[in-house]
Amino acid sequence: MKVEQRYRYLYKPVVFAACSVPAVLLALGTVGVVLQSSGSGAAAANALASLLGPDPVAKLLHSCGKTALNLILITLLVTPVRQLTGVTHLVRLRRMLGLFAFFYASLHFIIYIVLDRGMDWHSVVTDITKRPYITIGFSALLMLIPLAITSTNRMMRRLGRRWQKLHRLIYLIAIFGVWHYYWQVKRDVRLPLLYAFLLALLLGYRLVKQWQARRRLTAKPRGSPSLHPSTSD
């Protein structure tokens, strides 16, 4: 009970606040730019607008995309940290992190349509169908939708074992997300490569774990059926 209360009144609110920080800063910057465009030369408007810099649409677009990607990688970090530290209840934060990732990815897409493309649907469709890096980014967003919808406790119960299977989609989403980032960079790919490296570590950890588990099973003498995979967890 004590752990539950700590999560409810301390950890979750703190994580919620931390995940909201980028959105709040971007919202304040947007207010500044709107004030500036409507003719306000007030120092406050300029200070707020400077949060977004000279190319506010690009800043909004890239910040949301990168925050979504950061959060996806953080959700993938939860399992390794749990297993390596033994702090298993960390999993209680994972849903919130995943939903925030979905929130920022959606915001990224909305900003792209409304501000970057100026609601020019023809060019949006052309982009999604003809530009591979946008196609994979869009696919990643589409795959996030079922994960967000099935994130409730009720859905978890209803789907049972299939829930976990469905949510393995996040591996593919993360790969597509990093790929989308790598592909749109003009020349300096150092940061996208860092993301790819971190993702490789996170996915590699799981592969190694799986391989170890399989080896343990096959190494067991035939006479001991006590450890069948379906009985564990």
């Binding site: 000279p54 501000l115 300096d188």
Partner: protein
């Protein structure tokens, strides 16, 4: 430099266009009142750099409101100082634009290495407000200070073998820290066909907003070709080479499927990864998208250069 009888340098003779232009300015002044008599260059809002004596060339200036000095000098692609748009402003302090020399080489009668002052000396400076379109689909309106490249080329008498002009940026890792990285092959190289180089729109630039060019914008000498994507506008030039071969410009070398030699602004030929049909105007807020114009709006002045060329192939 060869002197004409009477000690006048050939370059000191006012070119016919400028002479005619002065007349049209005077005519405009008579029609519009005395305030239009001497069109003043834009003042640098907050430039700490010295003013340059120059007047506006109205014939070659667009009427749009120029982008702010802060944005023009704070949002740059200058990979020698970093790949983020804010990096050049932060890091370009290590560039020493004075003293500076420029080597003139290749297929010309007069070649050699010259002090920048001697390169610039004969050319009267003018302000031209040009549209600037980056290949990344953003744009600005910029009051440059400079003089036509054609006037400079004339002084060095290129031979008939000179079909192209090749420009090279400074290569000095102590001044340009990112030249230690392998983000691009250094030094940066750009080039123009000779007829493009002598088009009256092609500008050698030494200033911005009526003042000396800030380091991050390519001090002390850069190229501006307003109908081409911004990466053609090579910065901090140390060498001008007249050549028979088409120069291998840096971006076309590193990504030949994405960037060509010509790099003419063209809303109908997309970059493989993004549309070039429209652009975000820097400093225009959240709804800053506007359609991109053929040859960046300079179609009347330059379309003849590419008559009969397949612009999809020669992008």
């Amino acid at each position: 430099m060869k002197k004409l009888p009477g000690g006048i340098l050939p370059s000191e003779i006012t070119p016919r266009e400028v002479f005619l232009n002065r007349r049209s300015l005077l005519a405009g002044a008579l029609a519009g009142g005395a305030t239009a008599l001497l069109p003043q260059a834009h003042a640098a809002e907050g430039s700490p750099l010295p003013r340059l004596p120059c007047t506006r060339n109205a014939k070659y200036s667009v009427s749009e409101q120029p982008t702010s000095y802060a944005d023009i000098s704070g949002y740059n692609n200058f990979y020698e100082f970093g790949t983020d748009k804010g990096d050049p402003k932060e890091n370009a302090g290590t560039l020493r634009p004075k003293p500076w020399s420029v080597a003139i080489t290749g297929e010309a009668e007069k070649t050699g290495t010259f002090h920048l002052e001697d390169i610039l000396h004969p050319h009267p400076l003018e302000e031209r407000v040009y549209r600037f379109r980056c290949v990344e689909a953003w744009s600005m309106v910029i009051p440059w200070v400079g003089f036509p490249l054609a006037d400079l080329i004339k002084r060095f008498s290129p031979t008939s073998r000179a079909k192209y002009v090749e420009f090279t940026t400074l290569y000095d890792t102590t001044q340009m820290p990112y030249e230690r990285t392998s983000i691009l092959p250094w030094p940066y190289i750009e080039g123009l066909r000779m007829d493009e180089a002598v088009n009256p729109l092609t500008l050698m630039v030494v200033g911005l907003y009526g003042s000396v060019l800030p380091n991050q914008d390519g001090a002390p000498l850069r190229l501006i070709v307003p109908w081409k994507y911004g990466f053609k506008g090579i910065k901090s030039i140390v060498k001008i080479n007249f050549t028979a071969q088409q120069p291998r410009n840096t971006w076309a070398v590193v990504a030949p499927n994405e960037y060509g030699f010509y790099a003419n602004v063209n809303p109908h030929v997309d970059h493989p990864r993004w549309s070039q049909a429209s652009e975000r105007v820097i400093g225009k807020g959240l709804f800053a998208r506007q359609p991109t114009l053929m040859f960046n709006g300079y179609e009347n002045e330059v379309a003849y250069l590419y008559k009969g060329m397949d612009l999809r192939r020669y992008f």
